[in-house]
Symmetry: D2
Subunit: 144 residues, 4 copies
């Protein structure tokens, strides 16, 4: 499923790099919970900016978590390159998202030389409801 | 391309409804610039939360603008129903997004009884660079 | 992940219904290998129409298999309704697809009253290479 | 919207290259009707393999036309490179597709060095019904 056999960064290292790039409202408790071969899981703690009418977590908040999880997954595998950019994201919203922390689990579908393709499952609220499924592509910088 | 021949709300009415649902950081200058048959254009004024490293507008900010434009477009055509929900969104990021206001132009591809399908073009910065293209589906409430 | 606790059709019943709807070139050995709660797996035997230059399985052939797998999954769960229609499909092509049978594994992400959201993994060739990942939405007929 | 100012191939040249790569059932009347800066239009003549129950054009047939139109568009702009590959495609099916020729209009959203992003509108039948909207990404070979 991917060509690397070693991770380039630990969860703590990934967390430090990503934190600087998140909107300030989000940096507070942002946490990279786990990275391993082909997998990364992050937590975006609940914050009032995430709220949408109906006492739900908004689409932009879910997008933010999915994007951070994909970035964490790529960075753990290829190192702290700044030049990786999201080429596309496809989001399916599955059910109303109860307020609470967002947990995002990202898995590699393919890590090539030029593109990384990933899927992300998003969970929110006290019961970790499965609220959205995301796939996306990162364009990778040239590596040796 | 759609079954309605009259809009249900003016740009000002749409703006008032959406403003309440946006993250507070965004409500400031949010503006529905135009709605007409099959079309809506909104402006999300630049705000520091949108910034990402490299002096660029972030993905979550672009998502927010696309989502607001789709919501404005649907609402102008079917009225201020609260129950419309985004079923999916597909985003292609085309080029680095220079900082500045985000302008989002949404067009109806299909307005059915149960689903509305739309495309959105996103522009940022002083030169209105074309930075992202989005398609998405809204699940519509039952209407009579 | 879905609201039903019983399947409505067996693999053999699903196969019989789908076979009639496939292009004739494909009907030959089409096989629904397994259906269970939230899951369906089909096999589309290799046939010359699938070939593309480079001795590879073509995109249209992969699309056909993904669509048939989604249809099998939906039908097993809601019965042989003819009115289900594909609303959207998003395909990520992961690697060159070696010629051979196509196996498609479909999983339910969400079975609601009006929409079913699924993901499909596609494998081809003697070594069952993972060649494409697909998500899609079906609009469901009104049920009681 | 793209970096090239000259097309590399004419419509007739593009047609000749693509024809060899299509399934044999489709090669008959396949026609590249027009290519110009940022635009290509192809026609896939109706053929029995396209039929699905309900006297409609099938999803796989629509996919085939969209893929051929994207390939024609890319090839007209960068030349007859064989190494371009579809990285992803996102299809929205808008309405039942009446039988008849499929016309696919493809437009460049972005032609970069490594990726081309395009949108395709699909029309079928005697009244050229707008039946599907597609976006997609091609990974391009290294050029000088």
């Amino acid at each position: 499923m991917n060509e690397n056999t070693e991770l380039k960064l630990t969860a703590a290292e990934v967390e430090a790099v990503i934190k600087g790039g998140l909107p300030s409202a989000t940096q507070g408790g942002f946490h990279v919970e786990e990275v391993r071969q082909g997998y990364a899981r992050i937590r975006l703690p609940y914050s009032p900016w995430m709220l949408r009418p109906g006492n739900l977590v908004s689409g932009p908040a879910l997008f933010t978590a999915a994007d951070a999880a994909m970035y964490a997954l790529v960075m753990a595998h290829i190192g702290p390159v700044v030049m990786s950019v999201t080429a596309n994201m496809n989001l399916h919203f599955l059910s109303a998202a109860p307020t609470g922390d967002i947990v995002a689990e990202a898995k590699l579908l393919r890590l090539g030389l030029r593109l990384a393709v990933m899927e992300v499952s998003l969970f929110t609220g006290a019961e970790k409801s499965f609220v959205a499924h995301v796939t996306g592509t990162y364009a990778l910088p040239r590596r040796r």
